[in-house]
């Protein structure tokens, strides 16, 4: 394994650990004040909306610097081969070429692996130079299908066996549980490889100034890019600055440092000029990550009254040359069950490495678990919602662990069922009428998303009354800038547009990667803390001026005033003059009180129509009920839900990386043949938020929302299809051929 590949894995691990939240530190925080907010919790338009809609928002792709060179990477066209020779001399002598680097010796293990790189005056020269690099490969046997990679005697991907243990979990005694059960039920579910495909492909610009490196990167994680670069280049992190401008989507594939970013830094060092490397759509398909497959068998021992006694899960998951996803968390946690056993294995293949993909593991695990619950409900003659309610929990690890700090899943069931009209569902799966059959399905969701302790943010107040909210966080489109402005404005009695937000720079206070639904519950409490400290200081200044106790001062309408006599007030801009110089207030996201589990919950209800003649599935409507503690901004929260559902519908119906087994090459490395949902496929979406404030999670009582709406949707759609046509496909994407085949099998059987 190459040095920086190792770092990628570290950062992926860190992502999951961060998403879970570290072990609670024990120090209790006081519950959020019971107070009425004016802006928080409302529909607030984005503070940067004007920049976006006028095309003035600068993305990394849009940047260019004086004397900047174009970097390009030559990649392996083969899934498995030995490099036996490389001649770069012709490329080096092409006019306009400033540097050529050999990046690989020996074996390449997947199509798209880095082999060499060039930096040239412009893109066309760089492309031409790549064509002049002569690489002699000796082809080696490859394996790209996980089922084949598991078989005896298949080509070995790494130095060890293709199948490796990934995860195991045990509680209680499953065998005893199965012995006590009245019904044993077992099913197997399968999910395909998805590609993230953010609209802005990966792009990095590196520039050296003596021994200092500045990198502009389209990333979800500026600090982990900085630290990854430091390790890969062998230079101190203190000499690296990473800047993220606006960025065009990530969904996990822009977490951690990328190989091409390291190459950009190397080429920039070599040439003494800034180097920009922009990946193509094909490169985005091959070598910057994907969602691993899953092949999950669930076996349950159940009592006739629906009580789960024993759950066993086995998963074979493949993330190419990287690891698969641990998919068992929902099954371990969400339903009451004393006996659980999990065995998960990763299967290596000669394909690009996996990367965290919006709700890694939970998406696949929920597809299996929630499909299983639907089928089990039918087996038992239960309403699927009743079966879930029967096994409801108030503490984690299936009612064997610690209590949830807050859990509004029951409310999600109630409001969601009412909004979709759950009573309309076919009482028996397959009860849909006519050639176009309709059905309803439900699926539950759990995720972490408590945020990361120690996240920092500053509020800086200038004597002229202008205010900055600063944190080294990222805005991927979730609205980070807007919630920072909203919270600061709310706390200081100003308007969101009054706040200058600064993010995306490693010279700012530390914040975690933007992944795992941790941006809001990390940064929002930190900026709230900083703004509260600023407010306290300004109150003390106003107290002197108004001659009342500081505790009697409140902030609002751009004034500081006496709560008992609001007529007595002083303008915000007057008080800040007293500061004489800029004043910085440091905020931090505090500890999580021990003894509680912090999770977000939700339930999706889908209505579908299945054309039994063409096999085409149309998702008509989705009701998405989520409990994420306090909602900071309903406007952006609704967008998160709409986006998560669209992506999940897309994965349920269309998305699949297709690799030709003979050549080992991907046949759909573009947006035409890899089919993300278009505007024609988007259903009617009804977001519902269960507005409960978590009493201890942080000073705003808020949880993250990035992953939750992506988690249950594919399962809800598959369950609705089951309800419509009476056969569960147990596999996504549910393409028309699979639907027709399933319908055919059903007819033959009946």
């Amino acid at each position: 394994m190459k040095k920086h590949e190792k770092y990628l894995e570290d950062s992926d691990l860190a992502y999951l650990e961060l998403a879970k939240g570290k072990e609670p530190q024990g120090k209790e925080i006081s519950p959020p004040e019971k107070q009425e907010f004016k802006i928080i919790g409302q529909y607030t338009p984005r503070v940067d909306g004007k920049l976006i809609v006028t095309g003035r928002a600068k993305y990394t792709q849009d940047l260019s610097f004086k004397d900047m060179l174009c970097g390009k990477i030559l990649r392996s066209p083969y899934a498995s081969a030995e490099i036996i020779g490389m001649d770069i001399s012709q490329a080096e002598s092409l006019p306009g070429v400033k540097a050529v680097l050999k990046l690989k010796e020996g074996r390449v293990k997947y199509e798209g692996e880095q082999v060499a790189a060039v930096a040239a005056d412009d893109e066309k020269t760089a492309e031409e130079a790549l064509g002049l690099i002569r690489v002699d490969y000796k082809l080696l046997p490859h394996v790209v299908a996980p089922e084949k990679a598991m078989a005896e005697g298949s080509p070995q991907v790494h130095d060890s066996a293709n199948v490796q243990k990934l995860n195991e979990y045990n509680r209680g005694d499953v065998d005893k549980g199965f012995a006590e059960a009245e019904i044993i039920f077992e099913r197997t579910y399968k999910t395909a490889v998805e590609i993230h495909h953010p609209v802005e492909t990966h792009v990095s610009i590196a520039q050296w100034d003596e021994d200092r490196l500045t990198v502009w990167d389209s990333t979800q994680a500026i600090f982990s890019v900085r630290d990854g670069l430091a390790r890969a280049l062998g230079i101190p992190a203190s000499r690296i600055r990473v800047i993220k401008m606006y960025m065009g989507g990530g969904f996990g594939c822009k977490l951690g440092v990328n190989e091409h970013t390291i190459v950009a830094a190397q080429l920039a060092k070599e040439t003494g000029r800034p180097v920009k490397i922009t990946l193509s759509r094909k490169e985005n398909s091959l070598c910057v990550g994907n969602r691993p497959t899953s092949l999950i068998t669930v076996k349950a021992g159940v009592k006739k009254d629906g009580a789960l006694i024993s759950l066993f899960m086995k998963n074979y998951t493949s993330g190419g040359v990287g690891r698969g996803d641990r998919c068992s968390e929902p099954l371990i946690d969400i339903y009451k069950c004393p006996n659980v056993k999990v065995e998960e294995f990763t299967v290596f293949t000669n394909t690009g490495a996996s990367r965290p993909t919006r709700a890694p593991g939970h998406v696949q695990g929920t597809f299996a678990l929630e499909g299983f619950m639907e089928e089990l409900a039918n087996e038992l003659g239960f309403d699927p919602l009743d079966l879930r309610r029967k096994n409801y929990t108030s503490s984690n690890r299936g009612e064997t662990g610690i209590p949830y700090s807050s859990k509004g899943l029951d409310k999600c069931y109630e409001l969601g069922a009412s909004a979709i009209g759950w009573a309309r569902r076919n009482k028996k799966p397959g009860g849909g009428q006519g050639k176009k059959k309709r059905g309803l399905g439900v699926a539950s969701q759990i995720w972490w998303g408590a945020g990361v302790q120690g996240t920092l943010a500053d509020v800086k107040i200038h004597p002229d009354g202008s205010v900055e909210a600063i944190s080294g966080t990222q805005d991927l489109g979730g609205g980070t800038r807007t919630f920072m402005a909203t919270i600061t404005a709310e706390t200081l009695g100003l308007e969101p547009q009054d706040i200058t937000v600064k993010i995306g720079d490693t010279t700012y206070p530390w914040a975690p990667s933007s992944g795992g639904s941790q941006t809001t519950p990390s940064v929002a409490p930190a900026i709230r803390d900083a703004a509260m400290k600023a407010a306290e200081h300004l109150k003390s200044l106003a107290a002197k001026k108004l001659n009342v106790a500081a505790s009697d001062i409140a902030l609002g309408n751009k004034n500081l005033f006496d709560k008992n006599n609001p007529e007595r007030s002083v303008a915000f801009q007057e008080i800040t003059k007293e500061l004489r110089r800029e004043a910085v207030f440091h905020g931090e996201r505090g500890d999580l009180p021990a003894g509680f589990a912090y999770n977000s919950f939700g339930a999706h209800f889908a209505e579908v129509e299945v054309d039994t003649e063409t096999g085409q599935i149309k998702v008509l409507k989705v009701v998405a009920a989520h409990e994420i503690g306090r909602v900071i901004n309903k406007q952006t929260a609704e967008s998160q839900v709409v986006g998560g559902i669209t992506q999940g519908v897309s994965a349920a119906l269309f998305e699949e990386r297709v690799i030709d087994e003979n050549t080992g090459k991907m046949v759909n490395p573009n947006l035409q043949n890899y089919k993300p949902a278009t505007s024609m496929d988007s259903p009617e979406i009804v977001p519902i938020f269960i507005d409960i404030v978590d009493p201890r999670i942080n000073n705003l009582g808020t949880k993250g929302l990035g992953e939750p709406p992506r988690i249950p949707i594919s399962a809800a759609v598959a369950n609705a299809v089951y309800n419509a046509i009476g056969v569960h496909l147990r596999e996504i994407p549910m393409t028309p051929d699979k639907v027709l085949k399933a319908l055919g099998t059903k007819e033959t059987a009946s």
Partner: protein, 209 residues
């Protein structure tokens, strides 16, 4: 799965694009330097490629006249982004699959990544930067903010240009017509439902005005 084909455009089909590869020289020969005032491109920038392969073209971009020498292989997207520094138009797939680079050419939407720059000769190009009048946003832009019709915002310039084109042809589209009208644009954040709301709202405010 067979999906509804992406929007077919009357004027600039793939066929027309391919035909254009062979037939554009006649148009460019008519261009004169007199049309090109004021110039947005300095002579020094023009001196980097072999002159023999270049064509001189003039067109207007957001109301300003532009005179450029372009290589036959240069796309309108490349000229807009790299030479005119109008980076609001985005490069997403670079092969006509996603609509991220949509601009208006004589008020018709085109994928600028598939459109050779020399074919813009004599035409009027409108990009996302040319939509607002000063600080006053176009109603579609305002509606995109009001309805939160984007997340990362990278596809928004393309969606907004397609929406403007749709509303100029059909000022009061139904939901189905909005969906069909925007089916040539991809939003990977998946905010379509919000985009429909914005287009409907823009349609209303434009008809009131």
């Amino acid at each position: 799965m067979e999906k509804t084909p992406r929007k077919k455009r009357k004027t600039y089909t793939r066929r027309a694009f391919l035909k254009g590869l062979g037939g554009g020289a006649a148009g460019t020969a008519l261009a004169t330097r007199l049309l090109g005032q004021p110039l947005l491109t300095s002579q020094s920038e023009l001196s980097t490629a072999p002159v023999s392969s270049k064509k001189t073209v003039t067109f207007t971009v957001n109301g300003k006249k532009v005179l450029l020498e372009v290589e036959p292989r240069e796309t309108l997207l490349e000229v807009l982004r790299e030479r005119l520094k109008l980076t609001g138009t985005k490069k997403t797939c670079d092969r006509g699959e996603c609509g991220g680079c949509t601009v208006l050419l004589d008020n018709q939407p085109v994928y600028s990544c598939l459109f050779l720059a020399y074919r813009a000769d004599g035409k009027q190009v409108t990009t996302i930067e040319g939509l607002a009048e000063g600080e006053k946003l176009h109603p579609v832009q305002q509606a995109f903010i009001d309805k939160d019709a984007y997340q990362c915002g990278f596809c928004s310039p393309g969606f907004i240009m397609s929406s403007v084109a749709l509303l100029s042809k059909n000022p009061a589209p139904s939901l189905a017509e909005i969906k069909a009208g925007l089916s040539g644009n991809l939003c990977r954040c998946g905010n379509y439902a919000k985009i429909y709301e914005a287009v409907a709202a823009a349609s209303q405010s434009m008809r009131k005005a």
